[in-house]
Amino acid sequence: MIHLEVNGKRHDLDIGPDVPLLWVIREYLKLSGTKYGCGMAQCGACTVHVDGEPTRSCVTPVSSVSGKKITTIEGLGASRAGRAVQKAWTAEDVPQCGYCQSGQVMQAAALLAKNPGPTDTDIDASLSGNLCRCGTYQRIRKAVHRAAGIMAKGGKP
C-alpha cells in the first residue's frame, strides 16, 4: 500500500513502487491536468509540487513520495501564489496549445511562493527546464512578473 496526499485528499493505493508518480496521478487518480511530455525530466510538462517543491513526476517513483503532500494543477488554486499565477497567465494570454502550461504554471507558482519578486535571471533559472513548443516564453516571463505584482497587491490584479 502506498499512501499519497494529493490536493489535500488521502489515497491508499495498491500499486507497484516503481510506477512514476505522473501515471499514478493521471490514471489512478484521474487527474489529467498533469501532462506527459518526455518521461525523462527534459520538458517539465509533468511538474507537480511535492511538499511545495516543483518536481518532475515522470521520473519520480511513487514509493518515494509516500506520505508526502502533493499538489497538482487541479489543486493549485488553493494557494495564494497559484491563484496569482493563474490570473496573470490569463491576463497575459499566455497559453497557445496549452499542453505545457500546467507544468509552466506549477513551476512559476513554486518560484513565486519562495521568491515573491523574481528577477529575469531568477525566472530563467527556474523556468528554463519547462519547454514550450508553441514558444510562449515571452508571455510566460511577463506573466511571472505580473503574478508577482498581483501577490504584492494582496491578490488583486
Partner: protein, 720 residues
C-alpha cells in the same frame, strides 16, 4: 440567400444538441444519414450548424477548425459574434463533429492547415452570424407584432424603437422557426466592434487550471492503454516475436499485431511501456537500413549539379552566367526536422460492431474518419471523431496517411477492447513524417553595378505529397509545389532566372512542417540575397528595396521592420542586425534580428523586430502571439534541431538530443502589424520562414562567416 438551409426547422432537433432547454438554431451532433445527404447537396453554408443559443443566453459556436494553439477557438467565434451582435461574454465553443457542412470552404474536406482557418471562414462565418441575427430579430418582431424594420440587435438583445427588449435566449426557440433570410447584408468593416480588436483567448482559463481536455486525456470505460513497438527502420516488418516477457509484466493484458508494429495493451501506460520494452522482436532487413544522412548528402549534392524539373524559367540564365562580371556558386542544406509537438501522438478508439468512436487531436478529420471506416469495415457515417484540444500540430496531425489514427483502429480491432494508444516521446521523435532534408545549389551572377543578372537555383529533396491523394492537386509537370514555394516565386527583380527541382524517392516518411517548403526556401533565398548585397558592397536592406520595387507589400513590411528596429543605428559592441523578408500563405513578414556570437561560436538572439502584413485581420492579439510562436519555432530549427539517420535508424530520441528553444534563449519579440484592407492572409506559419535568414545574416555581419547549413554549428561561426 440561396443555399442556406435552416436545419433546425426539420424535425431532427431531437437528434443532438442536448442542452438545457431553450433550444434554438439547434443542431445535430448526430446527423441522420438523410440529413447528411441533404447537407451534402447544399453549399457549405448552413448557419445553424455553427450556432446554438440557449435559453440562458449562452451562444455556443461550433468550430470546425482544430485548436492547436493558433487561436481559432477565439478568432472564428469573433467572426460569428460580430455579425450576430452577440454578447462576447456569453460565447462558448464546441468542436464540430465530422460532417460535410463543416468542410473547409476551399479544400472540400474537414481539416485545419495551411494557415487558412481565418481567411477560409471569413465570409461564411460572418454570413452565418448575420443570418442568425436576422432570424432572432424576425422572431422578436413577431412576438411583439411589429415590423422588423423597427428592430435592431445589440449585445445579445433585440431592441425595438419603442424601447422594448428581448434577450436572445428569450426568442431563441421562435427564431429557429423563422425562414433563413434570402439576402444577407454584411456590416461595413468600419462598424466592426469585435473583428480587429485585441481579444483575449477564450480557452486560457481551462488551460491554466488543468481542465482542458487533450487527446491524451480521453478516457472510455473498460479501456486499455497500448504502447507500440515500431520497427527501428522505416517500413520494417516483424520477422519473429517472443512476447513471453512482455506478457509477464504486471498489468499487461494482451499483445497484438498491427501493420505498423506490435502493440502491448495494459491497464495503464507504465505497464504497457514496460511490456513493450520487454518484447523480443526480430525485424526483417529492408533497403531502408542502408539510409544514412551522410549518404543522402552525397546523393543530394550530386543531384544538385544536374538539371531538374523546371519550376520557373525566365530569360537565359546559362548565357547570363557565362558572361557575367561576378559569379557566385554556393550550396545550402537543412536537415530533417521532427514536429515534436509537446503532446506526443495518441489516439483513443472505441470500436463496436456498428460504430467507431475516436477521441483524438487531429487536423485531418475527414481523412482520418475515412481511414478508420476502411479499417473497421464501417461506413464513414458510422465513425464519430471527437476533436480534442491538440497539444500542438505544426502539420504532424494532418497526415494523409492517417498513421496514428489508423494504427489505433487496427489495435482496437485486433484486441477487441476500447484502447488508447500513446506514443512515447521516443516513438514520436523516431516515427518519421519529418520536414524533408533539403539541399540547394545556387549560381548567381551580378552585373558591373552589382545588380543581380542571373539566378540559377536547384532544389533537391523529397516530395511531401508524392504517393498521397494530394499528389494530383499539388504536383504539376513533375513539380511538387510545396517543394519550390518561396523559391519559384522569388520576388526580386532578376532578368534571368531558373528554379529547378529533384524529388528523390527516399524511404523516410515526410510531411508538412510549419511553413512547409518556405521553411527552407526562405533561408536559402534570403541568405543568398544578402550574399549578393555583400558582393555588390551594398547595404542588404537597401539592396532588397531596390529589387522589390514592384512588390509594395514586401516593401511595406521590410521598411516597417527596418524602421522599428533602427536599421543602421549604432549597436552595443559585439551585436549586429540581420534582415529578411518573405511572403507565404498570403501574408508578408519581415524580421530584423539582433544577434551576438560568443568566441566559442554560440549564437544568441537578443531581439527580433517583426513586421507583418496579413491583410484584414480578426484578432491582433493572435497575430502577435503567432509571430512570437513562429519566431521561437524558427529559432529552434535555426540553432538546435536536426534529425539524422545512421544505418536507417533515427539517431535522436528525446529533448536531450533533439534540442528546441528554451525560455532563457527566447529573444525579446516586438510585433508590428500593418493595417490595410487587403484580402485576409494566413498567420500560423508566415512568421517562421524569415527567422533563420535574419539571424544568419546578422551572424555574417558580425563574424564574416556565412551560415549555409542549419542548425548553426558553433564550429561554423566561431572566431578563429
Amino acid at each position: 440567400m440561396k443555399g442556406i438551409v435552416n436545419i433546425s426547422r426539420r424535425d431532427f432537433l431531437k437528434t443532438g444538441a442536448a442542452i438545457s432547454g431553450g433550444l434554438i438554431l439547434g443542431l445535430h451532433l448526430n446527423l441522420p444519414e438523410s440529413v447528411n445527404a441533404a447537407a451534402q447537396q447544399t453549399p457549405p453554408l448552413v448557419p445553424n450548424a455553427f450556432i446554438r443559443i440557449g435559453s440562458d443566453d449562452t451562444v455556443t459556436i461550433i468550430v470546425n477548425h482544430s485548436e492547436m494553439g493558433q487561436g481559432v477557438y477565439t478568432s472564428l467565434p469573433m467572426l460569428v459574434a460580430e455579425e450576430l451582435e452577440a454578447d462576447w461574454t456569453k460565447i462558448r465553443v464546441e468542436s464540430a463533429p465530422v460532417d460535410p457542412v463543416y468542410n473547409h470552404t476551399a479544400f472540400g474536406m474537414q481539416m485545419t492547415g495551411g494557415s487558412t482557418s481565418v481567411w477560409s471562414e471569413y465570409d461564411r462565418l460572418r454570413k452565418v452570424g448575420a443570418a442568425a441575427r436576422e432570424m432572432l430579430i424576425a422572431a422578436a418582431a413577431e412576438t411583439w407584432k411589429v415590423n422588423k424594420k423597427g428592430c435592431r440587435a445589440e449585445k445579445g438583445v433585440v431592441i425595438h424603437t419603442s424601447g422594448k427588449k428581448l434577450r436572445y435566449g428569450q426568442v431563441a426557440d421562435k427564431a429557429a422557426a423563422m425562414p433563413v433570410p434570402a439576402e444577407i447584408k454584411l456590416k461595413d468593416p468600419g462598424k466592426y466592434k469585435i473583428i480587429g480588436r485585441p481579444t483575449r483567448r477564450l480557452d486560457s482559463p481551462e488551460k491554466v487550471n488543468g481542465r482542458a481536455m487533450f487527446g491524451i486525456d480521453a478516457s472510455v470505460a473498460g479501456m486499455l492503454t497500448a504502447v507500440i513497438a515500431h520497427p527501428p527502420v522505416f517500413g520494417g516488418k516483424v520477422r519473429s516475436l517472443n512476447a513471453d516477457k512482455a506478457r509477464a509484466v504486471a498489468g499487461v493484458k494482451d499483445v497484438v499485431h498491427a501493420p505498423s508494429g506490435v502493440a502491448v495493451l495494459a491497464t495503464g501506460f507504465w505497464s504497457a511501456r514496460t511490456g513493450r520494452d520487454a518484447l523480443e522482436i526480430v525485424w526483417d532487413e529492408n533497403p531502408n537500413a542502408k539510409l544514412s544522412t551522410s549518404g543522402m548528402r552525397e546523393q543530394y549534392a550530386a543531384l544538385a549539379r544536374t538539371p531538374g524539373a523546371v519550376a520557373r524559367k525566365e530569360g537565359d540564365p546559362e548565357a547570363a552566367l557565362a558572361k557575367a562580371a561576378k559569379r557566385l556558386s554556393v550550396e545550402y542544406e537543412v536537415p530533417y526536422l521532427a514536429h515534436a509537438t509537446m503532446e506526443p501522438l495518441n489516439c483513443t478508439v472505441d470500436l463496436k460492431p456498428d460504430s467507431c468512436e475516436i477521441w483524438v487531436g487531429t487536423q485531418f478529420q475527414t481523412v482520418d474518419r475515412n481511414a478508420a471506416a476502411g479499417i473497421a469495415g464501417l461506413k464513414p457515417e458510422q465513425v464519430r471523431i471527437h476533436t480534442m484540444y491538440l497539444g500542438g500540430g505544426f502539420g504532424r496531425r494532418a497526415n494523409p496517411a492517417s498513421d496514428f489514427v489508423s494504427e489505433a483502429v487496427h489495435v482496437a480491432k485486433a484486441a477487441r477492447v476500447p484502447v488508447k494508444v500513446i506514443w512515447t516521446r521516443e516513438d514520436d521523435m523516431r516515427g518519421g513524417y519529418y520536414r524533408p532534408m533539403w539541399y540547394d545549389r545556387i549560381e548567381a551572377a551580378l552585373d558591373e553595378k552589382g545588380d543581380p543578372l542571373a539566378w540559377k537555383h536547384t532544389i533537391v529533396g523529397q516530395s511531401i505529397v508524392a504517393g498521397t491523394p494530394f499528389e494530383k492537386v499539388l504536383v504539376k509537370n513533375g513539380i511538387d509545389n510545396t517543394s519550390v514555394e518561396g523559391a519559384a516565386d522569388l520576388p526580386y527583380a532578376i532578368p534571368n532566372v531558373i528554379v529547378d527541382l529533384h524529388s528523390p524517392a527516399i524511404g523516410v516518411p515526410v510531411l508538412w512542417w510549419r511553413s512547409v517548403g518556405h521553411s527552407h526556401t526562405a533561408f536559402v533565398v534570403e541568405s543568398l540575397i544578402d550574399e549578393l548585397a555583400h558582393e555588390a558592397k551594398k547595404d542588404p536592406y537597401e539592396y532588397r528595396r531596390g529589387l522589390l520595387a514592384k512588390h509594395p507589400r514586401h516593401l511595406g513590411v521590410l521598411r516597417l521592420a527596418a524602421e522599428k528596429a533602427g536599421w543602421g543605428k549604432a549597436l552595443p559592441p559585439g551585436r549586429a542586425l540581420g534582415i529578411a523578408v518573405h511572403e507565404s500563405f498570403g501574408s508578408y513578414v519581415a524580421q530584423v534580428a539582433e544577434v551576438s556570437v560568443s568566441p566559442m561560436g554560440e549564437v544568441r538572439v537578443h531581439k527580433v523586430v517583426c513586421a507583418v502584413d496579413c491583410g484584414m485581420f480578426v484578432n491582433p492579439e493572435t497575430i502577435k502571439a503567432q509571430m512570437e510562436s513562429a519566431i521561437a519555432f524558427g529559432l529552434s530549427a535555426t540553432l538546435h534541431s536536426e534529425i539524422t539517420l545512421e544505418g536507417g535508424q533515427v539517431q535522436q530520441s528525446n529533448f536531450h538530443d533533439y534540442k528546441v528553444l528554451r525560455l532563457n534563449e527566447m529573444p525579446e519579440v516586438e510585433v508590428h502589424i500593418v493595417r490595410n484592407t487587403e484580402k485576409p492572409g494566413g498567420i500560423g506559419e508566415p512568421g517562421v520562414p524569415p527567422v533563420a535568414p535574419a539571424v544568419c545574416n546578422a551572424v555574417f555581419m558580425l563574424t564574416g562567416k556565412r551560415v549555409r547549413r542549419l542548425p548553426v554549428r558553433p564550429e561554423d561561426v566561431k572566431q578563429t
